[in-house]
């Protein structure tokens, strides 16, 4: 793999009614990067800018050493898998897949070979002659991904590809996408608002809010050392205790310990009033009130008491001053 960065987005600025976009990031070749953030934070807009659907006013985009800032869409060699799949309804599966191949001027034999390979890669062998309109959501998504890969792009963009599918399908397809990405070594940007997806798939996560990057980092870093409270809250469930108006303490529910007596090096939360308990099969999740904050924690057995003492190892807590992590 190349040592230089595959995708460089420099100083991209754009003004929108909901947010001001301000981006500056690099993505190394072969990596899968998630753009994570709430709806309306500018993730899809970012993809559109990179793909060339929206023209860039300020900034530069360099892909694989080429400056593609002002290049037309069809010259950028960027692949995009749309949320609505964008499969061509008047063509069958084979025709959809061969669409990007036809323009590459390769022989018919090679095209057929590639199609067979792609179909097996996405797990849909034998689907060549199927009618697009008869496919299920998951199948359509896989064909859409296969089609994007067929175009051999320098960069693959996925716009919330799994959001329209049911939970089971999502988890399964997620693994497939990761598998495919690893196999093809395509530099990929994956847009999602689902943090679980981002955590499980990515080599790198970029968290966005209101058009600006909040934090860039590996999933572990983002989860364990979120730079600010927004990221902390967004990336997973969390408990916040207000120390005063500017200082807050933050820790994950799974780090909360139940014990008869105080363990060493812990923060003690005395007399937490239990408000409710939810059963998840593998665990119980309970919410309790401590002073003015709500604390969520897990247990393997049901909590029968009305009040309980909770403990958190000090090293598992994060200290935030004015919303930012104080290290």
């Amino acid at each position: 793999m190349q040592s230089n960065h595959q995708l460089v987005c420099k100083n991209i600025k754009a003004s929108y009614p909901q947010f001001q976009l301000d981006l500056d990031f690099k993505i190394a070749g072969g990596k899968l990067v998630s753009l994570l953030g709430p709806s309306g934070c500018g993730k899809t807009t970012t993809l559109s800018l990179i793909a060339g659907i929206i023209p860039i006013q300020t900034g530069e985009i360099i892909l694989n050493g080429r400056d593609i800032t002002t290049l037309e869409m069809y010259k950028r060699k960027v692949g995009l898998v749309f949320q609505d799949y964008a499969l061509f309804p008047n063509m069958n599966v084979k025709q959809n897949l061969s669409y990007p191949l036809k323009i590459q001027k390769i022989s018919k034999l090679e095209i057929n070979e590639k199609i067979t390979n792609i179909l097996s890669m996405v797990g849909l062998e034998g689907f060549e002659n199927r009618d697009i309109n008869e496919l299920s959501g998951g199948e359509k998504q896989r064909i859409a991904i296969g089609r994007a890969i067929a175009s051999s792009p320098d960069l693959l963009l996925l716009d919330e590809p799994l959001s329209a599918l049911d939970a089971n399908l999502r988890t399964n397809l997620r693994k497939e996408i990761k598998k495919i990405q690893k196999k093809t070594e395509l530099t990929t940007i994956y847009v999602t608002h689902d943090q679980e997806e981002a955590l499980s798939l990515s080599d790198l996560i970029i968290v966005m809010k209101d058009g600006k990057i909040q934090q860039e980092g590996t999933p572990e870093t983002i989860y364990n050392k979120p730079k600010n409270l927004f990221v902390a809250d967004f990336i997973g469930k969390g408990n916040t205790i207000e120390l005063n108006s500017t200082e807050k303490l933050f820790f994950r529910p799974e780090k909360v310990l139940l014990s008869q007596e105080k363990p060493s090096d812990c923060l003690e939360l005395k007399n937490v009033k239990i408000i409710n308990t939810e059963y998840f099969g593998s665990t119980y999740a309970s919410t309790g009130k401590y002073k003015n904050s709500y604390i969520t924690f897990f247990s393997s057995t049901k909590i029968n008491k009305a009040e309980i003492n909770l403990y958190v190892k000090k090293r598992d807590t994060l200290f935030y001053k004015n919303g930012f992590l104080f290290d």
């Binding site: 869409m73 609505d84 964008a86």
Partner: protein
């Protein structure tokens, strides 16, 4: 910032060039005469025209009758659109073809058909008089405002049926189903959900119908019964053709243009506001077949009523072609095929000098070329409009319809002088194209606009330039709309009379001009015979274009 691409910029150019050179420029030339009073520039004439109370009264009536006619067309045609979009039944293709026929008839045939059927001495009255032994015709439908509205809606409801059903077929019914689950009653759902989704096609068709009725002429004068129902067009005709007062005619024309453009702008504005809806990219195969007896009866009732309404004048035309009416008291009306023979064999003695064969061939070739030209140009315009969303372009395209055909005719006379006679065919084709263009666009644009941009973008990201994307991805999805556009354009050209009369010389006859000549020689039988042939050709055309269009659904 709009997409900058050469393809999108130049795709509407050919059409714009033709419109500007062959329409806008001669039009402004003619209209500028309104501003010349006694040799120098002045607003005097046009201001006087706009403030004249008589003109204002006439304008008010023109708007009123156009508006009411449009409303009536909508009421008559809408249930038909519903029927065609949602139901499958035997004879559907034939029904649809029949419903489209009135629109392409030259207005003189419409007048003739109405007189033959609804007239005081028409079939209907004669039938009723013989059944009920009456001495006077009981139904005095004609020569009244009602007759005008009736004739206008007869003429124009096909637009509603075709446009609205085309769009309706492409709407997925998910929103309606969702509404039902939320407890919304069918009628409420219809008004709150379905109707707003149909707005683009309803507005498109209504604006077209409005313009047609606005500039209507012969129908109003003959069937209306008198000057009470004068429209602006009549006054323009009078000034331009009979008084040779071009300045006066131009002033009125500008007045007329202002009013119709204002209304058009309002329409187009509403069209833009129509919300994005869940669209299918191909007509749904799933149609209802209702089991409800009441619904079945209602449907049959509507179909029968509509058939009566459409077929009555059409059948009258057919029937009249077989009947030799004579003024001799002792001669009974005889049934004969003679007129059909006569119109084909050049008969030196009295009547027909040019054969209908030539007229039919000319018309067919002219229609073929015009329909293809206008569809191609319309596609170009659609591309330009969608990607550069130019309000001005849309308005410019509709302009030929808002201008009196008399004024357009004057403009063409001016152009005609710059072309020698060898180019007149070319000129007629272009004239037809300009006239057909608004219609072609209205059939194509809503469908084109509804193609999701993700498809276009996806194709481009795969390396296909906008040009190639259009041909590979967008065009196939427009197949049905293109077929509609082609077949309608073809028939419009076949039935076009006004511009052709102005431009052609006596050597180039088309079906409508020949019909016109026959009527002027009061050879009604022959006119009806040729008119019947026109109807049959169009019927076959519409029938088969539907068959072609829908075979790709059967896959």
């Amino acid at each position: 910032m709009k997409k900058k691409d050469l393809f999108y910029k130049i795709s509407s150019l050919p059409a714009m060039v033709i419109l500007i050179l062959l329409f806008l420029i001669p039009l402004t030339g003619t209209l500028s005469k309104a501003f010349i009073v006694e040799g120098h520039f002045s607003f005097q004439q046009i201001i006087a025209c706009l403030l004249d109370s008589y003109n204002l009264r006439v304008m008010a009536f023109t708007v009123k009758q156009a508006f009411l006619s449009t409303l009536l067309s909508l009421i008559i045609g809408f249930p038909g659109a519903y029927l065609l979009a949602k139901f499958n039944f035997r004879g559907k293709k034939a029904f649809r073809s029949l419903c489209t026929i009135p629109f392409i008839l030259p207005s003189i045939l419409v007048v003739l058909g109405f007189v033959i059927f609804y007239g005081n001495n028409g079939f209907l009255n004669n039938l009723l008089m013989s059944i009920f032994h009456l001495s006077n015709p009981p139904l005095k439908i004609l020569y009244s405002f009602t007759a005008v509205l009736l004739a206008h809606s007869f003429y124009n409801f096909p637009i509603i049926i075709n446009f609205v059903s085309n769009q309706w077929e492409l709407l997925s019914d998910h929103p309606e189903k969702a509404a039902a689950t939320l407890g919304s009653k069918p009628i409420k759902t219809f008004f709150k959900i379905t109707l707003p989704r149909l707005m683009p096609s309803i507005i498109s068709s209504c604006s077209l119908i409005f313009l047609y009725c606005f500039t209507s002429f012969a129908i109003i004068l003959v069937l209306g019964g008198g000057p009470k129902f004068t429209t602006i067009e009549v006054e323009i005709y009078n000034l331009a053709k009979r008084r040779m007062d071009i300045g006066g005619a131009a002033s009125l024309s500008i007045f007329s243009l202002i009013v119709s453009m204002l209304l058009l702008i309002i329409y187009l504005h509403f069209q833009k506001k129509a919300t994005n809806q869940e669209v299918l990219l191909r007509p749904s195969n799933i149609k209802k077949t209702t089991s409800s007896k009441l619904k079945k009866i209602l449907i049959i009732f509507y179909i029968v009523l509509l058939l009566f309404f459409i077929l009555a004048p059409i059948i009258s035309i057919f029937a009249r072609s077989f009947i030799t009416a004579s003024s001799r008291a002792d001669q009974i009306k005889s049934f004969t095929f003679n007129s059909y023979k006569e119109i084909f064999l050049p008969n030196q003695s009295v009547r027909i000098i040019s054969s209908s064969t030539q007229a039919i061939i000319n018309s067919l070739i002219l229609a073929f070329v015009s329909s293809i030209t206008s569809t191609i140009l319309a596609l170009g315009l659609c591309i330009g409009i969608k990607h550069k969303s130019s309000f001005f372009t849309e308005l410019l395209v509709m302009l030929p319809m808002a201008v009196s055909s008399v004024i357009i005719g004057l403009g063409y006379l001016i152009i005609g002088r710059y072309f020698n006679s060898n180019f007149f065919f070319f000129l007629i084709v272009l004239a037809h194209t300009v006239i057909i263009l608004p219609f072609a666009i209205k059939s194509l644009l809503p469908i084109y606009r509804s193609i999701p941009s993700s498809l276009t973008n996806a194709s481009q990201l795969f390396g296909y330039s906008p040009f190639r994307t259009f041909f590979n991805v967008e065009l196939p999805l427009l197949k049905n709309a293109i077929i509609t556009s082609l077949s309608f354009s073809f028939s419009l050209s076949l039935g076009e009379m006004n511009a052709t009369l102005i431009l052609s010389n006596s050597k180039f006859v088309t079906i409508p001009t020949l019909i016109y000549r026959m009527i002027n020689s009061y050879y009604f039988q022959g006119a009806c015979a040729l008119g019947s042939l026109l109807i049959i050709i169009c019927f076959i055309l519409f029938y088969f274009s539907q068959a072609i269009g829908r075979t790709n659904l059967a896959k």
